[in-house]
């Protein structure tokens, strides 16, 4: 490892522009003639649209156009779709209701877009939006998924009877029932995973520009995957064929899943640009983001975990109802199925598992992947149940887990996944040591003297990243392949451009990807530029989500680097009159091993382009592309331990210690990896203690601003103790597993296990806010 190579703690190249205010986000983009859009959104959770009168709005100052869903449909713009087909256990396909980018006959949640107003200024667009008169006939609404399944509940989509989208299962029901019947002990829990709002700090935005002369569209958008956006907008929404549509995702201010999907706004802005003849920019305000960004989680489950007399798990039965909101968002169907139930074996050797999942329409914002996507729900369910079981069985939570750990690999679980590598005992040891787990009793006693309730909780998570291989996800219903592409261009002066289909929105790819090149060729990272986020520059890519950019995106780069290296060595061997197999690359030069004969990297590059003296038959230039399709998912895992002190007088929980011990496989830049873990843990603690999206019974979102939805602030969190003990991933060339989501997956159960331990109760609802904790303490002391 050099000072800029793989494994080095290199400061980020991209920071310069962000710390000087020179970042370029969608809202910073200005195009000549650009006008501003405001959306008129439904104030009702469920209503028929009787009449839309735009006359007054059209006459307002500065208004360029007021457009409706009827016009959009007349122009042939398609409905939004869910790109992952799930079949119910009876073999029937999921029941997808129509989602028009602008509602035509009916609105189904508060925030559903109905009309777009385009005006000279943002202020004028908003003023005119208020003047649009829409007559609604209100219908009864339902926001709770369990209630939506009841007979007589409001019918949200004609296609989905009783609001049931699919009723899906995985695993062996018979074997699991038999295990439960024969068990020495069964732990039973009801597990609720609260609904969250992702809240990337940059609100969503779109700038659509139709160029009449070229008959060509450009869309700047806050996207984690601009190529998928182009593909979907071309193939399904009929905006334009791919060659006439360029999608650019410039600097993007965080995503956490919420910017994977193609939303109505970017479709409508592109269409409205053609319709009005001007470039159209829309930027969400925060309340619009709360109302219309895809939400996360919202599961209600029951679980039965069976043990034999040696405390070994013999079976796990899970029944889950997942709320998907008013429409099926792009990947909504795979989150509570293949990203959730396939992880229900956790780190444990469980011979029989059965999970049943019902997904449901409600009159709420669409629900899709949010950091972790399905895996936090699986981990929360398992790790809360393990903790409860340990208490019931009167054994140490650490030992109960250790007893059940998978210890040999590869390990085939009963729910599809084949774990390739791991050392769960090592993470548990690292976490118990770092947290002084053994010394907890003393600390609890000391806290008690101060009148505080101290508790400790752990969570041993596993996740599946890299979401792949393409053929496998295809067979499970995915509408896309989940490979990644890379192009490495060596310029004539030896500098390098790496074009990648991954997209960085905080992950630091401009640095880590350059480190990979430095490791290989010894070229300084300042001479390596990473190009991403523009469909005109990068041919195709699948974007960044599911912690895939390291394991999949960088593996594609490694493959392209292999090809560049092979050609570079051929050129060097020719120039140095040596055998190609004797050429090594060291410190920015190509050398004949064991001699002092060498040629600097830049000279070899120049030779490739002058082409005066290349091996016979070789094409000039030095540019290679690669597509990498993973052989398997990757399986990061780890152990998190949380320690809390609760003030029984106020119910306030302080996290006094948080330890994370992760196994991420090989690491490119430990500083960036630690940053990912910190951020993930903060979101997980947010879920456990602070955050929750609440709709009232009529479907109004009560938590639609930062005054109502509690975002974790600096004062709510401690500094974290993070470490890694890594087993390289055998399934990709770099041995990387992925680190982006672990923190958000592993932390909520650790926090709740600590709180329930402190209070001496079995369960508490997330978020465990002071009032909830206070009430729980009061209820517990009554008994």
């Amino acid at each position: 490892m050099g000072i800029e190579g793989v494994g080095a703690r290199v400061a980020r190249k991209e920071d310069k522009r962000f710390i000087t205010g020179a970042g370029r986000y969608v809202d910073d983009m200005v195009v000549p003639g650009m006008k501003h859009a405001a959306f008129v959104r439904s104030p009702h959770a469920h209503a028929q649209i009787k009449k839309i009168d735009v006359k007054k709005a059209q006459a307002m100052p500065g208004v360029v156009g007021v457009l409706t869903g009827k016009q959009l449909k007349a122009d042939g713009i398609g409905n939004l779709i869910c790109g992952w087909m799930i079949h119910s256990k009876d073999g029937s396909p999921m029941k997808m209701g129509a989602w028009s980018p602008l509602a035509v006959d009916k609105v189904r949640y508060v925030g559903d877009a109905v009309v777009i107003v385009v005006a000279e200024t943002k202020g004028q667009a908003r003023d005119a939006a208020e003047a649009v008169e829409i007559t609604y006939k209100e219908l009864k609404a339902v926001v709770d998924a369990t209630k939506a399944l009841e007979k007589g509940a409001p019918q949200i989509h004609a296609e989905a009877e009783n609001n049931l989208i699919f009723d899906w299962e995985i695993g062996d029901a018979k074997a699991t029932d038999a295990a439960i019947k024969a068990a020495a002990h069964v732990t039973r829990m009801k597990i609720v995973n609260n609904r969250l709002v992702p809240n990337a700090m940059e609100p969503r935005a779109a700038l659509g520009h139709y160029d009449k002369a070229e008959d060509h569209y450009t869309c700047w958008t806050t996207s984690q995957n601009p190529h998928v956006a182009r593909l979907v907008m071309s193939a399904f929404y009929n905006i334009a064929p791919e060659n006439k549509l360029r999608v650019i995702a410039p600097d993007v201010g965080g995503g956490f899943g919420s910017k994977i999907y193609i939303y109505p706004e970017e479709i409508v802005c592109l269409w409205a640009s053609k319709k009005t003849g001007v470039p159209v920019k829309w930027v969400a305000d925060r309340t619009e983001s709360f109302l219309s960004d895809a939400h996360g989680r919202d599961h209600v489950s029951t679980v039965e975990m069976a043990f034999d007399k040696n405390n070994r798990i013999t079976g796990l039965k899970v029944d889950t109802i997942a709320n998907l909101g008013a429409y099926m968002s792009l990947f909504s169907s795979c989150v509570p199925t293949y990203l959730y139930a396939t992880l229900l074996s956790g780190q444990y050797d469980i011979p029989a598992i059965h999970a049943n999942v019902r997904t449901v329409y409600t009159n709420t914002a669409p629900v899709d992947a949010y950091r972790g996507a399905g895996r936090p729900e699986a981990t929360y369910l398992l790790e809360r149940t393990m903790e409860a079981a340990a208490r019931e069985l009167r054994v140490s939570p650490a030992e109960l887990r250790r007893t059940n750990f998978i210890t040999s690999f590869p390990h085939q679980t009963p729910v599809i996944m084949n774990y390739d590598a791991g050392d769960y005992g090592a993470s548990l040891d690292a976490a118990t040591k770092a947290s002084d787990y053994a010394g907890f009793a003393k600390r609890k006693a000391a806290a008690a003297k101060k009148g505080l309730l101290r508790g400790i909780g752990m969570s041993c998570y596993i996740e599946a990243c890299g979401i792949a291989p393409s053929a496998a996800v295809g067979s499970l219903g995915a509408g896309v392949g989940l490979w990644e592409s890379a192009e490495v261009r060596v310029n004539a002066v030896g500098t390098i451009e790496v074009l990648t289909g991954s997209h960085s929105h905080g992950q630091g790819h401009e640095t880590t990807f350059a480190q990979l090149v430095n490791e290989r060729f010894g070229v300084p990272i300042d001479s390596v530029s990473i190009v991403h986020g523009d469909t005109d520059k990068v041919q195709m890519g699948m974007g960044t989500y599911g912690s895939r950019s390291g394991a999949v995106g960088m593996s594609a780069i490694a493959k392209a680097l292999d090809k560049v290296e092979a050609k570079a060595k051929k050129i060097a061997a020719h120039l140095l009159e040596a055998d190609e197999g004797d050429i090594v690359i060291e410190n920015g030069a190509l050398k004949v091993a064991g001699t002092d004969k060498n040629i600097p990297w830049f000279q070899m590059a120049l030779a490739a382009y002058t082409a005066h003296n290349l091996p016979s038959g070789m094409e000039p230039g030095l540019k290679e592309t690669a597509f990498y399709d993973p052989a398997n998912f990757t399986f990061p895992a780890g152990c998190y331990i949380c320690e809390v002190e609760i003030d029984p007088e106020t119910g306030t929980t302080e996290i006094v210690q948080f330890v994370a011990a992760d196994d991420f496989g090989n690491i490119i830049n430990p500083m960036i990896v630690e940053g990912q873990v910190h951020g993930g843990i903060a979101q997980g603690i947010g879920q456990a203690l602070l955050e929750g999206a609440h709709y009232d019974a009529g479907g109004q979102l009560l938590t639609a601003s930062y005054m109502d939805y509690t975002m974790p602030r600096a004062g709510d969190l401690p500094s974290f103790k993070v470490s890694t003990s890594n087993t390289p991933c055998p399934s990709n060339p770099l041995g990387i597993k992925g680190c982006g989501e672990a923190g958000a997956i592993g932390s909520p159960p650790a926090v709740i296990n600590a709180i329930t331990d402190a209070i001496g109760i079995t369960d508490i609802a997330m978020p465990a806010s002071p009032s909830t904790v206070w009430a729980a303490i009061r209820a517990a002391t009554k008994h």
Partner: protein, 166 residues
């Protein structure tokens, strides 16, 4: 419409704006200073913090016309030419940013915080005083680290200057 005249990053600027125009929108749209960001509608997130007459202010919480006559420093005006301000340098060194969206506000708040605590800062104070700035990426761990480091660097710098003056 009202006339607005300001000193921004050491330069006198003027323009006209609708009375309802917030300072942040004037900076971004009239002056093209897009480093100052808008992350919420309720003055909670702090992405728009600038310095108004030497104090950290959320530029979404005042009208452009109210700011007329003030001396404003935005993130674009913090560095001394090519030399980063110590707070900017510390955010980079300690990985105090990821997506970069909250970063300008964080840095402007931190600079003000350090100036108000010449006696130095501790972790609890930094965390408490970051109440008005939300970050979704970093979990604040490295932001706190960066601010504490910058505070130390600036204290040393101040001592050095005092010695030179003596």
């Amino acid at each position: 419409m009202s006339d607005v005249s300001l000193m921004v990053n050491g330069k006198r600027v003027s323009g006209t704006a609708e009375d309802r125009t917030l300072l942040v929108h004037f900076l971004r749209e009239n002056l093209g200073l897009t480093g100052t960001h808008v992350g919420c509608d309720t003055s909670q997130c702090g992405a728009c913090v600038v310095h108004v007459d030497g104090k950290a202010v959320k530029s979404c919480s005042m009208l452009a016309v109210q700011a007329s006559g003030s001396n404003i420093v935005t993130i674009e005006g913090l560095a001394n030419g090519a030399d980063l301000h110590p707070v900017q340098a510390a955010f980079k060194e300690h990985h105090g940013l990821q997506c970069g969206f909250c970063t300008p506000g964080m840095i402007m708040t931190a600079t003000d915080m350090i100036a108000r605590h010449p006696e130095g800062l501790d972790e609890a104070t930094v965390r408490a005083e970051l109440e008005g700035n939300i970050c979704r990426c970093t979990g604040y761990h490295n932001i706190v680290k960066a601010i504490l480091a910058a505070s130390k660097t600036m204290a040393k710098g101040a001592k050095g200057k005092a010695k030179q003056a003596a």
